[in-house]
Homo-oligomer: 124 residues x 2
C-alpha cells in the first residue's frame, strides 16, 4: 500500500529568462513568489487543495510545463505508472523522470509537502 | 474592472495518442474522465479550488502542457498580461493565445465554469 497525489505544476525555463518568468506569473495570478533558497525552485502561487504552481530555473534545456506527482513510495508509484503506460527515462536527486503516452515529461518525487496525507490517494 | 483566474492545466496531444493519454492520467490520478461532446476536450480530473486537469485532442502539433486563464473580459485581461510581459500570438474561437517570457504558450479564455466568481481575482 502506498499513496500519491498530483502536487506541482512546474514552469521550467532557462536561467536567463527565469526572473522574468517568475515575475510574470506572480503578476498574472496576483501572488507573492517564494524562492526556495539553495534550490532552483520558486513557489509562484498556491493553486488550492495543497497544489502549487512553481518555477524551476534550468541549467540547460528548453522551456516547458511539467507535472510532479508526490508519493510516499517512489518505486511503487513508478511501477504503478509504468503499468498504466508511462516510460521511465531517468532519475535525479531522488526524483524519477518519466514520459507519459504522449511523450510529455513528468516526475515522481518523494513527499515534500506537509499536507500530503490530506490530499493523497491510497493505492494497492 | 475585470476578473480572472487560472482555471485549466491542459495536456495537448496528437489525436493518435489521445485515448492512451487520457486513460493514463485518469489512472494515475484515480479519476473518471468526462468527454465534452462535440469538442476536442476531456476533463481528466478536478484539481481542487475549481481548477481542472483536462486534455485537448490536437489536429496537428506536438504534445505539450499549457495553462488556461479564465476571464470575464478577454481584451482587458490580455492587455494586463501583455503589460506584464506576455506576447499575443493569435486567437481561435474566442480564446487568445499568448507566450509568456519563457516562450511557453498559454491561453486566455472567456468564463466557462460555474464557480468562476468564487475563485477569480478582481483587477483594476
Amino acid at each position: 500500500m502506498h499513496r500519491s497525489r498530483l502536487h506541482v505544476v512546474l514552469l521550467d525555463s532557462p536561467a536567463q529568462v527565469s526572473d522574468a518568468e517568475v515575475s510574470f506569473w506572480a503578476g498574472a495570478l496576483g501572488s507573492t513568489p517564494e524562492v526556495e533558497e539553495g534550490t532552483p525552485f520558486t513557489v509562484v502561487a498556491p493553486l488550492g487543495s495543497g497544489m502549487v504552481l512553481a518555477h524551476q530555473r534550468l541549467g540547460s534545456g528548453a522551456s516547458r510545463v511539467h507535472l510532479d506527482i508526490e508519493t510516499d513510495d517512489t518505486e511503487a508509484e513508478v511501477e504503478r505508472l509504468e503499468a498504466l503506460g508511462a516510460e521511465r527515462v531517468g532519475e535525479y536527486d531522488g526524483c524519477v523522470h518519466l514520459r507519459d503516452p504522449a511523450g510529455l515529461l513528468f516526475c515522481v518525487v518523494p513527499v515534500q509537502s506537509e499536507d500530503f496525507a490530506e490530499h493523497a490517494t491510497v493505492w494497492g
